[in-house]
Point group: C2
Amino acid sequence: MYSVRMRSAQGGAHEVGGRHISGAERIVSQDMVEQTTNAMLERAFSHTRGKADFINIVVEKIQENKVQEVPLLSVQTVSVCDVPVGRHTAQSVLAQAGVTSLAAQIGMTALLSLADSMGGAMLLCAVTGRRLDDTGSRGVRVSRMDIADEQGVTALLADRGINNTHVREALVLASKVAAAPGMVAELCWSDDPEYTTGYVASPAGYVRIPHCKPLGSLLGGRVFFVKPDVDIDIVKDYLSHQPVLVGLTYR
Amino acid sequence: MYSVRMRSAQGGAHEVGGRHISGAERIVSQDMVEQTTNAMLERAFSHTRGKADFINIVVEKIQENKVQEVPLLSVQTVSVCDVPVGRHTAQSVLAQAGVTSLAAQIGMTALLSLADSMGGAMLLCAVTGRRLDDTGSRGVRVSRMDIADEQGVTALLADRGINNTHVREALVLASKVAAAPGMVAELCWSDDPEYTTGYVASPAGYVRIPHCKPLGSLLGGRVFFVKPDVDIDIVKDYLSHQPVLVGLTYR
């Protein structure tokens, strides 16, 4: 198995100040590597956020016995009429998951105050809302994950009328994140200007919330709320380095 | 135009101590990017030095008006019967190019003392033989170059019976290197265990020397001899970052 990951930027590499355009994560067999990198290149060249002029692709062998299988989160969509209601709903779902209203408020504000989208996520304390990672505007990248049973997940999402790339990829990422040590909940909305549906995910499930941001907005990001006593290096290492395949088994 | 470059290693990424397996450099139009990355992946997976388990590919847009065209070096093959004669010949050609015998001896010893192959090159003073770069066992990578007229170069090399990947790529690299500010000469032999022909290149031409190392040896590398008064940062920047197309015009 190979972890294939791509990140793309505009105005040069991320490291030299380029603007993040897109990222992608797959775990595939060797005979699928070329097909996977080709799809990633096409995506980087034709993203709604702009055309990348810097694309970095890494192909890395992973030991199959080191891959952890985690369950796919159950999906639910709540119905909201506009952005204020959408954001209020997000805060309620965060509260149900165990995030204090102070931390939820701080996390929401952090996402809304971004100068530009982050490639990675901010890690906040679920009690105090204090930021716990030291990755600045880059954020912690969630890497090395894919779907164990692609046909099964595709069928499941198609059945609910939500089988699109956004949902599929976000659900895989959120399922990996929810299984992280000390994870309480995740708040996310996309940086794709044409995609306004965000979500709150926790070990209890993945709650889709339409209208988390106005149509046309290029600002999106992720906030992970973790327990106060968690070892942040262990969480970061799991998120970035632990290979994970997301299975169809529900919790 | 896009610079497409690949580096591969075994035992993890180069940065974490992986062993360098192969590298490749192209400058191509956008419609050739996928074909180019696919060829690079196939190469990394099937190199004579071993199968890579870490592959990094970067695709980066370059401004056409920033591309420098440099002439292709003229090619000559000298006839030598064995490795000692081959190495002695290399030292003579280096001397003709303006490298002192002290510096040539130090450069040769440096290549022969490598614990493992280097992805990049060592920069030595052409007078004293002192190492001038600070890149350690990684070396200075020569990057962002390709052939301007691929058919023309292929025809020229085929005409001489030396149209293989080794010669084509080395000749492009050596032509870029020879045009660097303050460059006196280059000494190189491959890390491919099945390819024993090395070369000495200078602005005066590219001299192929069969039997620079014994068949089966995995040790190869590059030494660049530069003038004592050169600004090493300018040389490094040109070698690693200046996009160069190598034309058919001879000097």
